[in-house]
Amino acid sequence: LVKEHSAQVVRAAIETLPLEFREVLLLREFEGCSYKEIADIVEVPIGTVMSRLSRARQQLKNRLGGEAAGVDL
């Protein structure tokens, strides 16, 4: 039950990310793409991939910060 709740919380947090952040995060974390692969798919420079990924994680961390005791954050 705790785990289910955690997944729900995480999913809800991912869904609130702007699309451009969400796509790079999902490509990296779920599809295991390299920065180069993400850059090719999303058609932006690698530097942009890096900054979006960093901001995506930052935002996700902030959103999960308060309410994710079950996620071990």
Partner: protein, 249 residues
């Protein structure tokens, strides 16, 4: 490395996208800086949270078909002259599906199902575009040579002529975002394509079969490679061929 720099560098550090000197510089900073060590720890926790298996879901049948249809329509609008463009489109398709699938709660997924879908999609696209081979050759050695430098491994290219399957050639593929070798054989009027990919979970896994959209699929893993045989030939013939193939490769 300052703390401010380190904060940005932690992402490529975590993702293994750093060369050795950069990595050493970050390591040196981390050794002395408690705050940055903690920041790295937070990123690692975040990654663990994203690995909850419940975050991955397959699409419902309806959604899957709708997506496939949309992707094909999008493809049809943009003709692809050669494989690099093609692989980008295929990768984008995988992404589009992944972005939606991951957020549609429909039960527990299976990596194998997803792979089976992916190889059938690739096969359908290749047939639709009339582009089954990047290299046309019946010489296994020539095909292996052609793949060298394109893949991190050398795919085995078995000669199946004794079983009635003629080697026609090969093409590069992107299966779920990873490069793969596709070996193309002809059997009567049917095409049999053998996808050779890096195994998601290396080891030895027995032959398994599946079917999707009129295609028969047989697959197995041997060591670090996984094999996906896709064709419209009947299930029994495909299984027999695959069993033989599994012994050979």
């Amino acid at each position: 490395v300052t703390c401010q720099e380190c904060e940005e560098l932690l992402h490529p550090y975590l993702d293994g996208e750093m060369d050795a000197p950069q990595r050493a510089a970050v390591d040196a900073h981390l050794k002395d800086c408690k705050d940055c060590r903690q920041a790295l720890e937070h990123l690692q926790m975040l990654r663990r949270a994203l690995q909850l298996p419940e975050l991955r879901y397959p699409a419902s049948e309806t959604l899957r078909h709708r997506l496939q249809k949309q992707l094909r329509e999008a493809d049809a609008k943009e003709r692809r002259p050669q494989w690099p463009r093609w692989s980008a489109a295929a990768a984008a398709a995988v992404v589009a599906v992944a972005l939606v699938w991951n957020f549609m709660p429909h039960g527990v997924p299976s990596e194998d199902d997803a792979m089976a879908d992916a190889v059938v999609d690739q096969q359908q696209d290749a047939v639709k575009d009339g582009h089954l081979t990047d290299l046309t050759s019946s010489d296994p050695k020539a095909i292996q040579n052609w793949f060298s430098g394109k893949l991190a491994y050398t795919p085995p290219v078995p000669d199946l002529s004794a079983q009635g399957y003629t080697l026609k050639g090969a093409r590069m593929e992107q299966v779920k975002g990873h490069p793969a070798a596709a070996l193309v054989y002809q059997h009567g009027t049917d095409t049999v394509t053998v996808f050779v990919c890096s195994a998601l979970q290396p080891g030895d896994k027995d032959l398994d079969t599946d079917s999707d959209d009129g295609y028969q699929i047989a697959y197995w893993t041997k060591g670090s490679l996984s094999f996906w045989v896709v064709s419209r030939i009947d299930a029994a013939s495909l299984k027999q061929l695959s069993q033989g193939l599994r012994q050979t490769v």
